[in-house]
Every structure is written in structure tokens, then in C-alpha cells.
Symmetry: C2
Subunit: 84 residues, 2 copies
């Protein structure tokens, strides 16, 4: 299954009103336990980059972090106000 | 299904050797046709942010863009050299 079909499936569950949405997923698979965990820092910097393109209201951001062994997945969901 | 389980499924297909991998997925759902498409520009800036954390060799980057109606999905896969 590709990411596109994954998102289309997700969208069917949630999308009632056509809103501007942006979703960022960061998956970091570490080759060993000593590899640094930088997803949190990355998340802040990514949001800084995004805010150059769209108006982001902190209340519109949902962050979810999951880990499984050497795999960390960070998910950021943003419902956006359109920059005019 | 959560993103974590999606990635775990993906990992089973590909992971032979434990490598340091990073995957970024950007999904942009536009509320209308006139919403700007900025995924390409975002992609370059995201890689700039990442390269502060890890050594990224351009040959190690795979980019995939898919669209379906108002949904654009950008996927960047990076197999990394560990920054010492």
C-alpha cells in the first residue's frame, strides 16, 4: 500500500468539510541504540519552515509520537488558515 | 491502522541490514484548487533542516510525489551515514 492510499483511507474517516490540511510524518529507524534521537528538535524546526508558507495557529497543531524498538514515528497534523 | 504499524509493515519488506533510515512524508490536502502547491519548495527546505542533524549524501535520497485530486503526498526516504 502506498502512502497516498493510506492518506486517502484516513481522509475518508475524518474529512467532512474540505479544509486545508497538512500532515508531516517523520519515521526514524536507528541502526543502533546510541543513535541520537532528534525527532523532537526536528519537529520544532520543521514547523518553523512550514510557517513561512502557511499561517499556523498553535491550537491547530496535533502532535503524536510512537516508538517501537529502534523505530520512532512522529506525526504532526495541521489544519490551516490560508495565507492571503 | 497507525503510521507506526504502517512503517513496521514497510520495514519487514525492505530491512535486511539494520541501517539508519529517515523517512519524511508530507501530505497536503488543499481546500480549493487555487491553494498554492509548495511541497517541492518545502522539500528542499526540509532537507536543509535535516542536514543539520545527519550527514546526507544526495545519492542516498529517494523522493516520490503522488497526487490524487486535492491531495498531494511527498515522500522522502534517506539512508544515512552517521554524523560522528
Amino acid at each position: 500500500m502506498s502512502f497516498l492510499s493510506f492518506f486517502l483511507g484516513e481522509r475518508k474517516k475524518t474529512a467532512s468539510v474540505a479544509k486545508e490540511r497538512l500532515q508531516i510524518i517523520l519515521a526514524h529507524e536507528r541502526s543502533n541504540k546510541n543513535s541520537p534521537d532528534y525527532l523532537q528538535k526536528l519537529q520544532r524546526e520543521l514547523l518553523d519552515v512550514l510557517s513561512k508558507y502557511v499561517v499556523i495557529n498553535p491550537d491547530d497543531i496535533k502532535v503524536n509520537i510512537e516508538s517501537h524498538g529502534s523505530l520512532d514515528v512522529l506525526e504532526v497534523k495541521i489544519e490551516m488558515q490560508q495565507k492571503n
